[in-house]
Symmetry: C2
Subunit: 138 residues, 2 copies
């Protein structure tokens, strides 16, 4: 496994946890350090394990089902820090109904031992809205 | 000069170029590589030197004057890659009048030789709008 492949897998694990709406799996992909940061679209900067995991828990609790695909993934790798820029195409079903949208994300990863962990996520809504052809989640 | 101080200086140089509306100075702070990326609030991912510099040129041409202060700056440094998360408080005067707002930014830097260069900028509008007490730019 090359380092690029390892970073892509860590990134895929982040989205797999998101898709599964599974906080335990989300905990596995983040580095347990006080300096980790997370920005959900339109929200403030959340810093540290507690506030970040609480935010995912809140999102997952209010979401019945979510479909996420990623596109335009650009990966760049340093010796111990890597960053990815990509587009998230998200369709989610919650109490508010079905919402569809695209989010532009920067994800930063850090190598700890032999494993890459996410240390920063910055998501922001794109003006562009995904064309909705299907009425149901995939 | 510690590496953290060097990264902070590179970040300060980026905002100094922005404040000065000076494309030549903006060119000095970016790494001249095809993989560099830049996201202006609400915009698409721009990749590579040409599109990124053209975007700054366009912004600078349409802006008469800009005042930017940065707040809540968090710096984290790897051996050859560093990332900063901060809030930009921007007041700008253009053909459209004076606009005031806050932008949340992720900036990624890469060490090349002895110098840190910006390789990724992701800015997104914050819902929060800066309180406008002054009618003029500082």
């Amino acid at each position: 496994v090359t380092q690029e492949e390892a970073v892509r897998r860590a990134n895929a694990a982040f989205y797999a946890a998101f898709r599964a709406l599974d906080v335990a799996r989300m905990e596995d992909v983040w580095l347990r350090e006080p300096y980790i940061t997370c920005v959900h679209p339109g929200g403030p900067v959340l810093t540290g394990w507690g506030p970040i995991m609480a935010s995912w828990e809140r999102i997952f609790e209010h979401t019945f089902e979510v479909s996420i695909s990623t596109a335009d993934t650009r990966v760049h790798i340093g010796s111990d820090t890597a960053w990815i820029v990509l587009i998230e195409q998200i369709q989610s079903r919650s109490y508010e109904g079905i919402t569809t949208g695209a989010v532009l994300a920067t994800n930063v990863f850090e190598l700890c031992g032999t494993h890459w962990y996410i240390v920063h996520h910055h998501g922001s809504a794109l003006d562009h809205v995904v064309d909705e052809n299907t009425g149901s989640l995939q």
